[in-house]
């Protein structure tokens, strides 16, 4: 079945440094949608950005990601981390055979002053 791998459980970095959260996925279907959801403390998880187009950069709120089907990756990046970016980030996959979204185990981003 479909699966999403987020190898880093915790990423800690200093404010102002670039952010990169890794995400790889597995699916047998060619038409896959990839998502990044962000979960701030005491809030509900919400969609950050999404893509289904190969090699096209998607941006939202300073974050960006590019779906690379050749490597089955959808890494989340930001040029300069802010303290307010500290949260739990989930990469997720929705393939064409099902309507459910499969999530990774999440990466907690901790930005320090």
């Amino acid at each position: 079945g479909d699966s999403v791998t987020q190898k880093e459980g915790l990423v800690t970095l200093t404010e102002g440094l670039p952010v990169m959260l890794n995400c790889t996925y597995q699916t047998i279907y060619s038409n896959a949608f990839l998502f990044w959801y962000v979960h701030y403390l005491n809030e509900s998880p919400r969609l950050l950005l999404k893509s289904s187009t190969d090699n096209k950069r998607t941006e939202h709120q300073g974050f960006h990601a590019t779906l690379h089907k050749s490597s089955s990756s959808f890494h989340l990046q930001k040029s300069s981390a802010q303290l307010s970016d500290s949260a739990l980030y989930y990469c997720a996959l929705q393939s064409s055979n099902t309507n459910k979204v499969v999530f990774g185990t999440g990466t907690r981003l901790q930005v320090l002053p």
Partner: protein, 115 residues
Amino acid sequence: NAGVIQTPRHKVTGKGQEATLWCEPISGHSAVFWYRQTIVQGLEFLTYFRNQAPIDDSGMPKERFSAQMPNQSHSTLKIQSTQPQDSAVYLCASSLEASTNSDYTFGSGTRLLVI
């Protein structure tokens, strides 16, 4: 629009007791999903409904978990004979339609603690 509403926000139950969790999706959303959130597993799919009909319950532990959607305004997740390993945050989400590229709106979750 109040968003997806989940009640209760917190529930503490003794081992072996029953727990019922409630979810009110966004009005007009046809798909409702239940997930369980833990540190180890992340967001784990449990089940989902489309237009109130159960579509996929492949993530549900078969013996003690059940979910229903008796009308378009609410869904329930029931856990019988709760065990400590059931302790988690249970999240409900709804989407406008159950199709690919349909964004989820999550509720705030119910934090269940089984002691």
